[in-house]
Subunit: 328 residues, 2 copies
Amino acid sequence: MASAEPPAGRGSAAPTLALEDVRTAQERIRGYVHRTPVLTSAALDALTGARLSFKCENLQKVGAFKARGAHNAVLSLTDAEALPGVLTHSSGNHGAAVALAARNRGIPAYVVMPSTTAEVKKSAVARYGGIVTYCEPTLRARESVTERIRAETGADFVHPYNDLRVIAGQGTAAVEFIEEVPDLDLLLCPVGGGGLLSGVAVAAKSLRPGIRVVGVEPALADDAQRSFRSGVLQPGTDAQTIADGLRGALGDKTFPLIRAHADDIVTVSEQAIVRAMRTIAEIMKLIIEPSSAVPVAALLEGAVSAREQRVGVILTGGNVDLDRLRWV
Amino acid sequence: MASAEPPAGRGSAAPTLALEDVRTAQERIRGYVHRTPVLTSAALDALTGARLSFKCENLQKVGAFKARGAHNAVLSLTDAEALPGVLTHSSGNHGAAVALAARNRGIPAYVVMPSTTAEVKKSAVARYGGIVTYCEPTLRARESVTERIRAETGADFVHPYNDLRVIAGQGTAAVEFIEEVPDLDLLLCPVGGGGLLSGVAVAAKSLRPGIRVVGVEPALADDAQRSFRSGVLQPGTDAQTIADGLRGALGDKTFPLIRAHADDIVTVSEQAIVRAMRTIAEIMKLIIEPSSAVPVAALLEGAVSAREQRVGVILTGGNVDLDRLRWV
């Protein structure tokens, strides 16, 4: 997706998103999403030398933070705009989140998925009543099928991350987090397309200017780090990282917000990601998906300086196929 | 253990435990244990036809509610009583809980474990600094080794469940639960030795007289149900239920409290227990141990009438050996 978009950096006309937009989103989605618990673990503090708090978005509706952005987008439509339904493409949690939000609004959700999508993700979208159209697993096929459905239905397109309504919704996770743990020094979250990181960075820096906000991605798919550090939006990679939710590239809305508000993007190894998943399961009794384990991996691997700091980690999702779960 | 104890029923001089004891325990252990989150799931409500709330003691310190009772027992000792340390026998979570509580008090914890105990449980006790003595896996060996250490050290014995201090501590889970969800119609928890069920029943019935409190155990180890229904304390079974935490028999303190305050004890199949564990992992993203899955199994199997009711379930613990996890 991003490869088809123009590069954007600090020099571009930056999209405007402010704390107020995130606050509005918070009011809008209240009652539709869980206020997820924040958990701590003395054992993990001992292991990392930091004072950690975990915002458990794996315990969110649809099992991922994506419920926030999808609800904000769908609920911000006027009745006339909402009537034809909403449309997205996703091979993951965003599709399920849009389907749930649309069901809550009482409108149809059209979800374009590659035919190669795992069964567990297909059935999640179907569970919430999403109308699925399968396409060939190519960018061109996805775009043409999406465009055809948009033309036929008039449905409103809700991009998985490159959409300010979605970004504002994801930012609500940071507002809740800082309400609960006001003295965070550092906030970590995964970065793929950057919807979460950009919303979180805007909200966290507004609420607590001294906080550091750092995105984490797999070293195998380090395009966001290269974009961030070079100032030039890099295309996504095809890298087969286990963190399959983080393969997307930044978009022309998320990139400038991240450049303006985040402090850094660091990377972690595949082995550290798997180890982090298992550590969270063993110590915290939580199932998280590989993409969610990435910030924990950064702490375990020392990819980010966190010792003796008050660190917030957003555990973004828990949707894994238990039969295929790889602990080692 | 219980087989060596006299039968006790409604006719016996019942041990006294009141809400006030549980309130005192709550004050005493505050800051030492987590106030665990209460979670809900629309998907599980749809699956069971009930309105469910889950008190997540799998997210408790040491990964189980046992932290509550152990802390209450250890913290209620006078300094003079505490000085020689505390002593228990346990092949499970109670040993780790007593070790942690003793470490927090700054006193030694002696834990007698069968030599056949799983490595994962041995290492949990060691992690919290417990001083482990292994014994032959027989009741006689356990009792003689425990008695010898008590004589040698003067340590205070903290029984895993048949101890009013422990029972009062476990009851704090129900107080917190009802504080958070005041309109519960039904409260479900597993029953093995009955420490949790007796404390929960005393607290819940005092706070909300109309509530039903039902214990659940594996059909393979239905001694608590037989005790409850016959009024005569039955010995434990050797049944190899997957819910290994529930093999103990009721004690002479827990039995009369349960007879006086609980409404029923129902049983579930082994298959339902495994299915419940997996359901909680898939839908709620929580790892629970088989003993914790038993009340969920009762809901899935219809062993307890819960439709259209407000049901509280205590998820008691999350300590499983991930390498041996059986999902199917």
